[in-house]
């Protein structure tokens, strides 16, 4: 053997490191061979290609030295796929090892064979695996259990036909809790794969699915208290999937799972919360519900003292839990105060949760805290804190005045980004309390020069337009923006347009020239179709029926409110059933990010069919999946109950409401505070819902426009209409 290699060496001398390694791997000295294997693994670790040494490494597989064996196995796992022909040479040793007297070796062989993922070797796996599942040593059995899931992953039919999956079901009744936990883990893994693999429209193979029966339930509840922390997570995962027969059983599960709240491992705690949230749905006993909610709070609070990464997962989940049960942490707002050195992603979440917990009782403390944050150095966090002050004002009516005062304090610091954010926030406060804080307007207008961010500008312009009749020099202020119209961002253009029309409707004498100018610029020179369309609509409205224009543009708008949930109710239930998982962290159903190709409605249907959940949930689910396809899901912040209203208002409900009378659809849609960057929302806010009595006063029409009939369609004119328009000009 050495000779053969020696010849190769002579033919190509100094073939580099691999050549030397090859020589050493075939050395007659044990130590040198082992050392060579280590060097091979070291090279593999740093990414050098050592696959060429496959046969030489393989020769060292049969050894008494466990460490060496492990290294060779590791090498095999890495390169089996690239050398499928040669892997077969390893089979003998594997089979022999699976019969070794040392359980460590037996388990190692089984574990590694499952990881090789080479078709050739799989056929030889059956016998050793069958033995492993019946091994007297629990360590080997628990390794075997997971190996069945590995086998299923490569060759499902083999795992089922050879009875391995049904053997797993038997292992759920094993005397050893660790074996039970791994059997449950393997069965759940197979269950998920089976559902994913089932062809469209067909049910998954029933032999691969893991339906938890009452008998299994009892075994799981017993093993739960005995197995390791990770085993507990696996079992709790399953308990959350279990469909209780009646409320008594749900209560029983809750009572048995509750002690897990005291576990030191945060993932045990969160997964236990998941089980409780699922089964609490069926609990009838009020006293038990109270107890469960009361017991849930302290462990959640404790997670906030954990490492930042764990904290973050906990915070995201708490945010979700609060949407369902705002009472869980009602007295605990202080624990969410931001620490000076919290990472940014933690601070953002804490702010969000503090707003959720804000109420009459704690709003003062919260405000002074938010004010403190607003003077920190992290610009992004400062902005969010200012925003939070606005949310506070909108959520807790009685605090609005104090919030406004804090905002005025902040504006007086003249720190540019603080002022701009405060202006944006003030606009939202006006949208909630239109008549209370007009005295603030001069202060805001005094900062007009300093604004350079589109959102802040747009907000101030909106305020000027809204209170045009009360601001003496509104025309001068707006003229500044009309002057620079073409240089502004398009949301500023939209707001300038609307504000000028409002001014004109309120004080026709002051603004004729201005409105004329802005409409002309917007229709002729502007590139944004949205701005053009809006200008056309105003123009047409003003020229045909100024009364209607007034009714539309100056209509009374419903006050805004904070959405109570960030996801539709059905999705919220879905996510609460997955507390601790990535879906609950993202606040998105798993189907939206797992990336198993396109997210088809079919896949969703299948998964919901299996769960036999209510059709409401299914519907909500599809809506979200579609929303995800089109854009960012996090902006989807309307509660499901109002979903319909929102969708229709986005389609131009504002306009249609002019024809549909006071019961306009827009009135029902709560307008989110944070979406003012969305031009469609602006439309909703601009066009109110109720059409007031048309005033008799009709302003003179400044331009010779052809009369148009007001068409109650969407703001974007239909193609033929557009042609007409173009023909006219």
């Amino acid at each position: 053997m050495m000779n053969v290699l020696g010849v190769g060496a002579r033919a190509a001398p100094k073939k580099g490191e691999n050549f030397e390694l090859r020589a050493d791997l075939n050395s007659e000295y044990r130590d040198r061979r082992k050392d060579a294997i280590k060097r091979v693994i070291a090279n593999m670790t740093v990414g050098k290609d050592v696959s060429g040494l496959f046969p030489d490494v393989l020769k060292n597989m049969q050894t008494e030295d466990l460490e060496q064996k492990k290294l060779v196995y590791l090498y095999l796992m890495n390169y089996a796929k690239t050398q499928p022909e040669l892997v077969i040479l390893a089979v003998n040793t594997f089979v022999k090892d699976s019969d070794d007297s040392n359980p460590l070796v037996r388990a190692l062989a089984i574990r590694t064979m499952g990881c090789l993922r080479a078709e050739k070797i799989i056929d030889y796996l059956s016998d050793p695996l069958a033995k492993a599942l019946k091994d007297e040593n629990p360590y080997v059995r628990k390794t075997g259990a997971l190996c069945v899931a590995k086998l299923y992953d490569i060759k499902p039919e083999l795992a089922i036909d050879n009875g391995f999956v049904s053997q797993l079901h038997e292992l759920v009744a094993d005397s050893n809790p660790m074996v039970v936990a791994n059997a449950v883990t393997a069965l759940s893994d197979i269950h998920i794969s089976a559902i994913a693999q089932a062809a469209e429209g067909t049910a998954p193979d029933s032999r691969a699915t893991f339906i938890i029966s009452t008998t299994v339930l009892n075994k799981l509840l017993i093993a739960l208290n005995e197995c390791s922390e990770w085993g507990r997570v696996a079992i709790l995962n399953c308990l959350a999937r279990y469909k209780a027969q009646d409320d008594r059983e749900s209560e029983h599960i809750c009572e048995r799972v509750m002690p897990q709240f005291q576990h030191a491992n945060g993932s045990v705690v969160l997964t236990a919360v998941r089980v409780i949230m699922v089964h609490m749905r069926n609990v009838q006993r009020e006293d038990l519900i109270t107890q469960l909610v009361r017991k849930m709070a302290p462990p959640l609070v404790t997670l906030i003292s954990a490492e930042p990464e764990v904290q973050w997962v906990a915070l995201r989940n708490i945010n979700l839990l609060l949407q369902k049960r705002p009472d869980i942490l009602q007295n605990e707002m202080r624990v969410f105060f931001c620490k000076y050195n919290d990472p940014p992603y933690i601070k953002v979440e804490k702010l969000d949760i503090m707003i959720r917990l804000a109420g009459e009782k704690n709003v003062d403390t919260l405000l002074s805290e938010l004010k403190e944050y607003a003077s920190e150095v992290d610009v992004d966090f400062v902005r969010k804190s200012v925003k939070a002050i606005g949310q506070c004002a909108i959520k807790v009516d009685s605090s609005a005045e104090r919030c406004v005062n804090v905002l005025l304090d902040l504006i007086s610091t003249r720190v540019s980004y603080v002022v701009q954010e405060a202006v944006v926030v003030m606009k939202d406060i006006f949208r909630k309390y239109p008549d209370n804080y007009e005295a603030v307007i001069p202060t805001l207008c005094a900062n007009l020069e300093e604004l350079d961010e589109p959102e802040a500008k747009a907000s101030l312009i909106w305020i000027i337009g809204e209170y045009a009749d009360k601001i003496e020099n509104a025309d001068e202020l707006l003229a500044i923006f009309v002057e620079t119209f073409m240089d502004e961002a398009y949301q500023v253009q939209l707001q300038t347009l609307t504000a000028v029309v409002k001014l004109f409707l309120k004080k026709p004498d002051n603004a004729q020239g201005l409105v004329q100018r802005v409409l002309e610029t917007a229709t002729k020179d502007c590139e944004s179709p949205d701005v053009r369309d809006r200008a056309y609509i105003y123009w047409r409205l003003l020229s045909t029926d100024p009364g209607a224009a007034k009714a539309v543009v100056l209509a009374h708008r419903p006050p805004i409110s904070l959405p109570r949930t960030t996801v539709p109710a059905g999705v919220l239930e879905e996510l609460l059933g997955e507390i601790g998982s990535l879906a609950s962290v993202y606040h998105k159903p798993a189907e939206t990010f797992v990336g198993r190709g396109r997210i088809g409605a079919d896949a969703l249907k299948r998964s919901t069919e299996l769960d036999d959940e209510t059709s409401v949930r299914e519907k909500a689910f599809k809506t979200v999946a579609q929303g995800q396809k089109s854009e960012n899901l996090l902006d989807f912040d309307e509660p499901e109950a109002n979903g319909e209203g929102v969708r229709s208002s986005i389609m131009g409900g504002g306009l249609s409401s002019t024809s549909s009378g006071p019961a306009g659809i827009g009135a029902k849609a709560p307008i989110s505070v944070l979406t003012s960057s969305n031009p469609l929302d602006d439309l909703v806010s601009i066009f109110g819902s109720s059409s007031l009595a048309v005033p008799t006063h009709s302003p003179s029409i400044p331009s010779p426009l052809a009369p148009f009939s007001v068409t109650p369609t969407a703001p974007k004119p239909q193609p033929p209409a557009q042609k007409d328009l173009l023909g006219i000009f």
Partner: protein, 435 residues
């Protein structure tokens, strides 16, 4: 469920990795850091989990390393993050320090650990004491082949049988960390006590232990009236050795302990705490210089004293030419922390001290903008004392061989990771509340 686990250096280069499932190619590891940088650049906070191109990235930071797990599907995020933390703990216990060098030097053993601690992406054994029984740095020296410790699959997975000590002893440390936040007006706006009962267990065999505390809930449920004060712990977390169902039933803390050092339980109290160490600073800014007058007061009983007190007072980033005068202890400038540190070896209860600091400010700045508002932070330890008043009433040790074991108990109160006071006040801007 993780498909691939890797430890990366700060440049995003993989130092060691292990693939557990086939569904995520290793090439995704290289995408990790660029994605993080991209998010940072776009101004999004980089969260510990994110998904890109259908692959979930979950990671934690440890000193100069990223520990990264890649996955598909919808895994249990909490489980992955905690497993990564357990991995860190185990590696630290094996190599003392976890850093690039220790990984390079020990790759063989890390592969072995990765193989044992996770299988097919599911966490397995993460008890480092048990792992050390059969995965050792000197395995090749062993004549006899190691076998899986019974504990691996026992119901008692944290303790091996056959442990022997000549002298059976248990040391209990009750450590309470105080976190609090004092606002500019001198009011405590947030405070909590994080307590931990740490044990060092040198006991033979399989001992059964029972720990008795002055737990208010237990006293009430058993109708016992306590002689001293009973305390109400808001949330208690136990090491996995404690029987949770038993505790839920009758508040008994019963367990078979692991061998050696471990944390038996932790608890939390949010009862209001008076600042044990009060610090306030009057700041006087002039053109080109700034002066501080700092006052510290130990607000606890005279018979106790605080050790190793360190007071961090923030100063502007560019402060230079420091001058200090302190009535006790020593003061040093720590430019890397933008603060000066006043160290007092021992601070007696009820005592009060003053110090003055003077700095030059080279750059002329508007006082208003960019003002740093870092709070004053304090570090300290007060031995033989717990803020909560928790007491160990008894520790019963029963082993079938019937030996006598001695329990030792020690109490200590210290600063938590957030003991901060926003009491550095510009002179004349707000009145300092009299104490």
């Amino acid at each position: 469920m993780a498909s691939l686990v890797a430890i990366l250096d700060l440049k995003g280069k993989s130092l060691i990795q292990r693939s557990y499932r086939d569904d995520v190619p290793a090439t995704h590891i290289e995408r990790f850091l660029p994605l993080v940088l991209e998010m940072e650049e776009e101004g999004h906070p980089v969260t510990p989990c994110f998904t890109n191109q259908g692959v979930n990235f979950t990671y934690i930071r440890h000193s100069n390393l990223y520990l990264l797990a890649l996955s598909k599907r919808n895994p249990n995020a909490a489980e992955i993050i905690l497993w990564l933390q357990h991995l860190t703990t185990v590696l630290v216990e094996y190599f003392k320090e976890l850093e690039e060098e220790s990984i390079r030097d020990n790759f063989v053993i890390i592969y072995e650990l990765l193989d044992e601690m996770m299988d097919f992406g599911y966490p397995q054994t993460t008890e480092s004491k048990i792992l050390q029984e059969y995965i050792t740095q000197e395995s090749h020296k062993l004549e006899v082949q190691v076998r899986p410790p019974q504990a691996l699959t026992n119901a008692v997975s944290w303790r091996s049988e056959g442990i022997r000590y000549r002298k059976n002893e248990v040391f209990l440390d009750v450590v309470e960390s105080v976190n609090l936040l004092v606002n500019a007006n001198g009011n405590v706006i947030r405070s909590e006590i994080l307590g931990a009962v740490k044990m060092k267990c040198y006991l033979s065999g399989m001992p059964e232990l029972r720990l008795g505390l002055n737990d208010k809930v237990m006293f009430e449920s058993t109708g016992r009236t306590s002689r001293g004060k009973a305390i109400e712990m808001e949330d208690i977390k136990f090491h996995q050795c404690v029987r949770l169902a038993r505790f839920e039933n009758d508040r008994t803390i019963s367990f078979i302990p692991p061998d050696g050092e471990f944390e038996l339980m932790s608890y939390r109290l949010s009862t209001p705490v008076k600042p044990l160490i009060w610090v306030e600073a009057a700041v006087e800014s002039h053109k080109g210089r700034v002066e501080y007058m700092v006052k510290v007061k130990a607000q606890f009983k005279r018979r106790s004293s605080a050790n190793n007190v360190e007071i961090y007072v923030p100063v502007p980033d560019d402060a230079d030419s420091p001058k200090f005068r302190a009535s006790t202890g020593s003061v040093a400038y720590a430019p890397d922390k933008s603060a000066f540190v006043w160290k007092i070896k021992q601070l007696g209860g009820g005592r009060e001290f003053l110090m003055r600091a003077h700095f030059g400010l080279p750059s002329v700045k508007n006082v208003e903008d960019g003002e740093r508002r870092a709070p004053i932070t304090v570090k300290f330890e007060i031995p033989y004392f717990t803020v909560s008043g928790i007491q160990v009433r008894y520790l019963k040790i029963v082993e079938k061989s019937g030996y006598q074991a001695l329990p030792w108990v020690r109490y200590i109160t210290q600063h938590g990771d957030d003991y901060s006071l926003r009491t550095a006040q510009e002179k004349g801007s707000a009145a300092i509340v009299p104490m």
